[in-house]
Every structure is written in C-alpha cells, then in structure tokens.
C-alpha cells in the first residue's frame, strides 16, 4: 500500500498569499494513499527538511510530494533529504505551486484549485514511482585520438600529460596534418614547422602515447568507457622497429618522378618515401602502386641499399584491436576541388593555384625553397591576384558556409608575397573581410597598410590566358565598375570541406554528421566538443572549418572532457534511462533508428540450448540519456523510461 507524504510549503508568503494552503492540505489529506499532509513556512530550510525526514521515518512513507517551488529549484535538495531518511531519492516529486501557480495567478480560489489538482496528480504519479539507483559503467582509462594533425596531437599530449594512456592513430605515414604543409601562420607569422615539429616529436616520444601512423580505424564497437577499436596497420614494407631513418633507400630509389601529395604536386617524391623531411616517425613507406619491385618483381634496390635490412616486401596489413574508454575524433578536412569553377581555369592554367599551393611555394622547405615562383615557367610573378570565397559562401556552386580561415590566410599570403617579391602587386577580390579573432583585424590592416595588399571588393567572373598573362575580369562593387587585371599568378581561397570519406567514417563511429559531412556536436552551444554518442568527442576541422588556435582550443577542451571521464574508475549516470520489455518487443528496430544517442542495440534471446529464439532491442544504460523518444515511437509499448514511465504519466493525467 502506498503511504505518501505530502508537504505543502508556504515559501514564506510566496505561495501562502495566493494559495489557500489549509484548503490544499485538507483536500490532499482526503486523497487515497496520502498518509500525512502538512504545511510549513519553508520546507527547504533545515527544520523543514528535518520534518520531511522525520515523517518518512515515522510513517514509513513510500513516496513524497513536496508542493512548493519548481523541481528545477529544489528537486535535488529534497531528493537528498529523502535519501538521508532512507527513502530512495527517486520516490520524490515536486508539485510546482509557486513558479507555475502562486506567482502567476491573481485569483486565490483558482490558484488553490489548480494547486490541489497539480499536487493530486503528482501524488498519483509518485505512487507509481520506482526506486532508481545510479548506473555505474566501468571505464577503461585509455583514450584513442583519431587523426594526427595539430588537433589530434594537442588532444593526445593533453591527455597523456595528465597521466593517461593515449593511442594516436594517423592514416598518413607521418603525423602533422595540414599544419605541416603551411609556411607561416597568421597572425604572428611564425613558421609553422618550427612550432609544430617539436609537438610532433613530443607526441611520438611521450611514454603515454602510442602513435600508430599509416593506420586506419576500421571498426568501433562498445560504448562510453568500453570501446573496442579495430585499427588496420597498413603494411609499410619498412620495419619500424629497426629503421633508423637514414634515408639511403630514398636517395637510391630509381622511381623519382612521382608528384608529391605533400607538395600539392608542385614537387616530386620517390616510391619509397617519407612525405616530408621532418616526418614523424621518420620511417619511410613504400608506395606499392608505384614501386617497380611490386610491379614486376625486379629492382629491390632499397632492400639492397638498407644496411640494417629493414625492408620487408612480404609485410602484410595487420589488424590490431584496442580497448579504449574514450575517443577523440580529429580527422581534419580537405580542400574543395576548385576545378568546379570552370571560369577560373583551375586545372587548365598552371598558374591558377590554391592557397595551399601558395603555402608550399612560400615554405622554406618547399619545392622552391621559399621563393615565390609561378608553376608554369618558374618566373617570379609580378602581379598576383587572390580570389577569396572561391567555393565558400556560394550557394550555387560551392558550399553555403564560410570556411573561416581564408580571409586571414589570404592577407597572410599577400604579406608573404610583399616580403618576398619587392615591388610586386597584389589584388585581392573579396566579399567581406572576416577578421574576428585576437590580433586578426590588426593583421589584415597591416597587410593593407604596410604591405599594400590591394583589396578589391567584388567577384571575379572570368580568367583567361592571353600572351602569357592571366587576364582576370571582375567587378569592383565599391566603385561600381568592371575591373580587369593582368596577372602572373592567381591564388584561389578554396573552401574547406570534410574529408571525402567523412560520412562513412561517421557511420563507423556511430556519430552524426551534417549535410556536408562535418561531424555533429551534441549541442552546438553547450556541448560543442561532445558528440551525441557518449564517450566520443570532436576536435578540429572535422566538426567545422577552423583555424589553428580554434582547433587547438577544441582539442584541449576535448582532452578535458576525456580526463573528466577518466577521473573515476566507474562512470556514474542518472538512472533516468529507457528499458525494454523483452517479452513483447517485436524487434522492428524503430527505436534503434530513432535514438539520438545510438544507445539501443540488438540482443539475442536464446533458449536453454543457446539457440536464438528472437532478437529484441536492448538499451545500453551507459549511453542512454533519457529523452524517451524511443518510448513514444514504440507501437507495442515495449520500451519505457524510468522516472517517466507510461504508468506514471498515465496516472498523472488520469488524476487531472
């Protein structure tokens, strides 16, 4: 039998002045199942709480309703009081007769009637409450960071620095990501390699970090605290354990004319190669598709050259299964293929290049050793045109969003060019200059004022070649007239887009992605580094276009989230989670599809002999956040939400 205690709070005059509490107490006292109903000036005060606790003990109450303020205000207070008196804290309901009654009504009779109805319906609800207990999930305190760009490196270092193990997985032969390709960085113009390389080395040497390069995540199973990740280590054909990185094999490799991906095809590499000189680890890989030995079984010069016999042509891909408790996804971005703008002639004219090409040209370690030379004939360009938003903010052909970094790097390019080519001209076609950020606007001003970057507000309509020059036709919207520039080189500020396989990878991870393929955060404002899948976090440009400071900040934030999770051996969670009625579940998997958190999985029900009789849905309480979307979907009413069960809500409504 239910023994419910109802405690009517006056909240000083806040409630009592508009609700006739004596009447309320009288009405509720008459309600079936109500063991005791009393009123008091402030139930949230210490003596008030003591009254509640004493009543629980003395009357053996099975449930408590406090008719007072909003549960958002004092639910925790009274839950604690219940727990202290030996009653499960979830056997409590708050009837909100202050915020939603006494404060908003002006007729005492009406307000009292409403207070009675509210309280009564919660008495009916609480009669059907069940004691709930926090859910503990064991946590494997090892993290995986996927992607070895600056975001991934930062996250790994932060987690490792706090004493937790990290596995850093990178699919390229070296960590470093896009940042390693960049010459100087805005707004300080310090050399990208100079600030990045030490961090790369630190990562690879860190005792808590296991770096897996040339490796790809193939499968992710499990849930927060308990993921099992299958990683494919692609065959390098060079033994990591023994290679000293002397580079002899690279020197001797006869296949030398392979366009280098790292150099954006502006330079070449060999078939056995490291992507760039400062690669970490400094162990080459053999590009099987280009290697003569793999093509026809002859050559093997590298093997002969290697003094410590580190070349192994028989090496196979291996799959490693790794247990981790959290995953930071930092898989980065790609550049949009700008050839979609036929009118810009990218791909047709050699001297129409992207911003990343320009970075390589300006980089001291790049193909031109830092001299600005145009790709077609190696001449120093006298006039360079930069086109911003060459893909971004373009609904018709490109992408709708702003790529965020282009305004800044274009200004930087104009500066670098001015520093390297004295007397050169720049024209920058732009839509807006977006320079929000510490030191950013100052930076663009400097480009204009000190380095004479020639900003033209407007769009370019056409580029064509004439007499060895690129004729750039556009409009100057400020002056309202057409412009034509004879340029030697054109640099396009290409859009940042998600990795081409981002959507597929999101499915491997079980996380959401937006229409473009950028991964979705759990809440854009309040949970920007978490995904909807508990235990998986985001860092860097895989979520949205970001510059280096933003990527690094988010990486550290993600690391903080991981460390928070790792701060205890067990993860404690609110027990307001869904539960499946296995006997009636029809296994239609609608709940699995609807669940925003991938918290529902299939479960086999077997007979005594282990034969599968049927498959039903099964909620992972470690992942369920308790929204109840599954409950409303389920046609057979086979899934329910603790704390807000069908029985509870039904009783609440039927008492109104």
């Amino acid at each position: 039998m239910a023994k419910i205690g109802v405690f009517v709070c006056h909240c000083g005059e806040n409630i009592a002045s508009m609700v006739d509490t004596a009447n309320l107490v009288a009405a509720i006292s008459e309600h079936p199942g109500v063991e005791i109903c009393t009123e008091y000036k402030y139930f949230c005060s210490d003596p008030g709480q003591e009254t509640v606790k004493r009543a629980i003990r003395e009357h053996g109450l099975t449930g408590v309703v406090v008719a007072a303020c909003s549960p958002r205000m004092h639910e925790q207070t009274f839950r604690k009081a219940c727990a202290e008196a030996g009653l499960n804290p979830y056997m409590l309901e708050l009837a909100n007769i202050r915020e939603q009654c006494s404060w908003v009504h002006t007729d005492k009779e009406e307000a009292t009637e409403k207070a009675i109805e509210i309280t009564r319906s919660l008495v009916e609800k609480v009669k059907r409450n069940n004691g709930l207990y926090p859910i503990s999930v064991p946590v494997t305190r090892r993290a995986m960071v996927i992607g070895g760009g600056i975001a991934g490196i930062q996250a790994a270092l932060d987690i490792a620095g706090a004493g937790r193990e990290v596995v850093l997985v990178e699919r390229e032969p070296s960590i470093g990501g896009h940042m390693s390709q960049i010459s100087e960085t805005f707004p300080t113009l310090d050399c990208s390699q100079c600030i990045l390389t030490p961090r790369m080395v630190e990562a690879v040497q860190h005792p808590n970090i296991k770096v897996m390069t040339y490796s790809e995540v193939e499968e992710v199973d499990g849930f927060i605290g308990n993921f099992t990740v299958k990683v494919r280590r692609k065959a390098r054909y060079v033994r990591m354990e023994t290679c000293t990185g002397c580079g002899d094999c690279i020197q001797k490799c006869p296949v030398k004319k392979i366009p280098s991906e790292f150099e954006c095809n502006l330079g070449n590499r060999t078939a056995i190669y490291t992507p760039f000189a400062q690669a970490v680890p400094n162990v080459p890989v053999i590009d099987r598709s280009r290697c003569t030995y793999f093509k026809n079984g002859k050559c093997a010069i590298c093997k002969k050259t290697c003094q410590i016999d580190s070349i192994d042509f028989d090496m196979q891909d291996t799959i490693e299964s790794i247990e981790v408790g959290a995953i930071v996804v930092a898989t980065g971005f790609q550049l949009q293929d700008t050839s979609l703008y036929g009118e810009y002639g990218y791909g047709r004219y050699k001297d129409v290049i992207t911003g990343l090409h320009f970075e390589r040209l300006a980089s001291a370690s790049g193909p031109t050793a830092g001299k600005i030379r145009r790709p077609s004939d190696g001449k120093e360009p006298e006039t360079v045109v930069f086109i911003q938003c060459a893909g971004s903010r373009d609904v018709s052909k490109g992408v709708r969003y702003c790529s965020k970094i282009c305004c800044m790097y274009t200004a930087k390019h104009a500066m670098l060019y001015a520093h390297k080519v004295h007397g050169g001209n720049t024209k920058i076609f732009y839509m807006d200059i977006r320079a929000a950020g510490k030191g950013y606007d100052e930076f663009t001003r400097r480009a204009i004022e000190e380095d004479h970057a020639g900003y033209v507000r407007g769009r370019v309509s056409k580029i064509f070649e004439e007499n060895g020059k690129l004729i750039v036709r556009g409009a100057d919207m400020l002056l309202g007239r057409p412009v034509e520039v004879e340029a030697d080189m054109v640099v396009l500020a290409t859009a940042m887009v998600p990795q081409p396989d981002a959507k597929d990878f999101a499915k491997v991870l079980g996380i959401g992605y937006d229409e473009y393929g950028f991964f979705n955060e759990a809440h854009l404002k309040l949970r920007p580094v978490e995904t909807a899948t508990a235990g998986i976090y985001l860092a860097g440009a895989c979520q949205s276009p970001k510059d280096i400071p933003d990527s690094v900040s988010q990486a550290s934030a993600a690391a903080a989230k991981v460390l928070g999770l790792f701060s205890r051996e067990q993860l404690e969670r609110e027990p307001v989670v869904a539960m499946v009625g296995e006997s009636t579940c029809a296994g239609c998997w609608g709940c699995v599809t609807a669940c925003p958190y991938n918290a529902i999985d299939h479960k086999d029900i077997t007979d005594r002999n282990g034969n599968v009789i049927k498959r039903v849905a099964s909620v992972n309480p470690g992942l369920c956040q308790g929204c109840g979307t599954c409950v409303s979907f389920c046609r057979s009413n086979s899934i329910d939400l603790a704390g807000f069960t069908e029985k509870q809500i039904f009783a609440e409504v039927m008492a109104l």
Partner: protein, 149 residues
C-alpha cells in the same frame, strides 16, 4: 448565462525548455490564466499521442504540447522526432473531427517566459470562445450511463 465557461486545458511540455520558460514566467511574476495543468516530461520526444487522447477523455477542452525550438533540444533530436509525430497525429485528429484549434503545438524556450504567459492567455481565450468540447465529452458521458440497449 451565469458564469463564463472556464476551459480545462492540459499541457505536455519538456522540462528543459517550455517548463523552464513557464518557471521564468513565474519568477518574472507575469500573470496568466489558471486553466492550464502542466505535465512535465524530459523531452518532447517522450510525449506520446496517447497522452493527448487521455487528456481529452479526462475532459480537456484543449491540449497544448510544447518544447524546445528546433536545434535547441537538450537531447539534440527529440523535438525533431516529436515534430514529425505531431504533424501526422494532428492531421489524423483533424480528419476525425477533433478541431485543430483545440490541440495546439508550440516551441517555447527557457527564455520565453513572456511567450509562455501570452500563449496560455490566448489559448485559454481561444478555447473559451470555442466552448466546451462537448462532442468528445459526450462520449465519456455515454459510458457513465446505463446501457439503453
């Protein structure tokens, strides 16, 4: 006519937005009609169409269903799922002759205390004008009388 008709309205709201919005109306001491009884759910995703039917059976003259604005759901997607259900369920109710004016849906954020207060007032007034939902309540009354078969 003696007293004006006081409609009975039941509201199903999510705790993170609309319930918080209603609290805000309270802390801001806004005044609104006392006809609404709120049932608090974690998310609009939890609001099953059955709730609406039961509210009607219990004599509600109007029902309000309200939650977070699209994109603001605490549970990221609950309100998107809810919105689809509402679209379909509302069409169904309308087709069976349950007036659309009696079953209302809204997005009210935790910051929109004023919107909440205003909506309750308008809703109450609208339903007062429509009068009691006799047609539906009649079904319940028939149950409570002896069989004339």
């Amino acid at each position: 006519m003696s007293e004006p008709f006081e409609p009975k309205i039941v509201a199903f709201v999510c705790t993170y937005c609309t319930y918080a919005g209603a609290d805000l109306a309270g802390t801001s001491r806004m005044k609104y009609a006392s006809n609404v009884r709120i049932v608090r759910l974690p998310c609009t995703g939890r609001i099953s169409p059955m709730f609406i039917l039961k509210a009607l059976q219990k004599g509600a003259d109007g029902v309000l269903v309200s939650g977070c604005h699209p994109g603001d759901c605490h549970f990221a997607q609950g309100n998107y799922h809810a919105r689809r259900r509402w679209t379909v369920f509302r069409a169904l109710l309308a087709f069976t002759g349950i007036p659309e004016q009696r079953i209302r849906f809204s997005w009210i954020s935790a910051a929109e205390g004023a919107k909440f207060a205003e909506l309750i007032n308008t809703l109450t007034e609208d339903i007062r004008k429509l009068g009691p939902f006799e047609q539906y309540h009649e079904l319940q009354k028939v149950i409570e009388t002896q069989s004339t078969y």
